[in-house]
């Protein structure tokens, strides 16, 4: 069911208090969830669901998904991770995925930003230009 306006407001308040020096604080989050579960305020399930969604979106900002057409070898993978961590900070988590549809090259997604250097994307660009 869709969360109510009131539940979204409470979950946003919880979310704002989940940070310590700009980063998600697991201790704070767990404490707040325990408190909500213990006190069971009105529509607490909706509140927790929306809170989870916000946390998930925030966590995605610090998570990189690296897609390639074929599995990458270890040294190349390590180099990519090192470069990304140098740019985005050491706490960036990474995940490698294989997607044959890319045909070649890499596609890196961090949060809402996507760097697409795949052959599929280049072919699409060419198609757009030639139309």
């Amino acid at each position: 069911m869709k969360s109510t306006k009131e539940a979204r407001k409470v979950s946003r308040q919880l979310f704002r208090h989940s940070f310590t020096s700009g980063k998600l604080d697991e201790e704070k989050i767990s404490h707040m969830v325990q408190t909500v579960l213990a006190t069971k305020p009105r529509r607490y399930v909706d509140v927790l669901k929306d809170y989870q969604r916000l946390l998930h979106l925030e966590a995605e900002k610090r998570h990189a998904v690296i897609e390639s057409a074929t599995p990458l070898n270890r040294s190349l993978g390590d180099r990519i991770v090192a470069n990304l961590q140098a740019r985005y900070g050491e706490d960036l988590t990474t995940e490698f995925r294989t997607n044959p549809e890319l045909l070649g090259g890499l596609r890196i997604k961090i949060g809402n930003d996507v760097w697409d250097g795949s052959v599929r994307n280049r072919l699409n660009q060419l198609q757009e230009k030639l139309q």
Partner: protein, 269 residues
Amino acid sequence: MSTILQELEATISGLKTDTTRSNVGTVREIGDGVAKIEGLSDVMLNEMIEFPGGLYGIALNLEETEVGAIIVGDYTEIREGTEVRTTGRLLSVPVGKGLLGRVVDALGQPIDGKGPVKSDETYPLEKIAPGIIKRKSVSVPVQTGILPVDAMIPIGRGQRELIIGDRATGKTTIAIDTIINQARLNKAAEEGKIKNHKPLYCIYVGVGQKNMSIARTVDVLEKAGALAYTIVVSAPASEGATNLSRAVRRRCDGGMVHGERNGCADRFR
């Protein structure tokens, strides 16, 4: 032959592709042509959002974690979880005299089978209309060609006039007759029979009408030789609510460009 080869070589060498950076989001909810999209942190208000399959949406409601967008076109193929991306472009439509004599849809795409619209100029769909100070006051009459109207309730260029009446009492007929009369006057002015006459171009917008009614109107205009001075915007009842509302906007934009160029932004509103 060598020239063609050189041209081809030049085109191919000009084609360069690069790694692109884009801002993406995921459809969370979709219904009635309105989508709630999670992500799209860099989206602008009224920016075009690209959906898979060449569909576009317009970002209208920007919230903290999600964006509300209306979809232009057939939204039935879009599913929850579909990835969308920003384009960096505001929704714009082709404008200018190239549209005269054409039948277009709410986004300015031709639907009359006469090939692409010859217009290099585009205009943003959502734009604040010029204020009252910028507008020229009403000074030139519009001759509807209907004697009782011209004699008793004359209307002027730049004026808004509402025609109210029961169904099948001839509201559209009055509008069509006026359009035909403008074409007649424009032609007479072109032949030098009327002096100091600025041509008046008309835009007919069929919102929520049957395709048949629009086709009949186009036929009447064509037979009367008025289509060359008219733009027909068609948003039939079968289109989504999005396109119907866009059609009204589209009419205003088409007119505004003519008007602004003539130094009187109110002319065609």
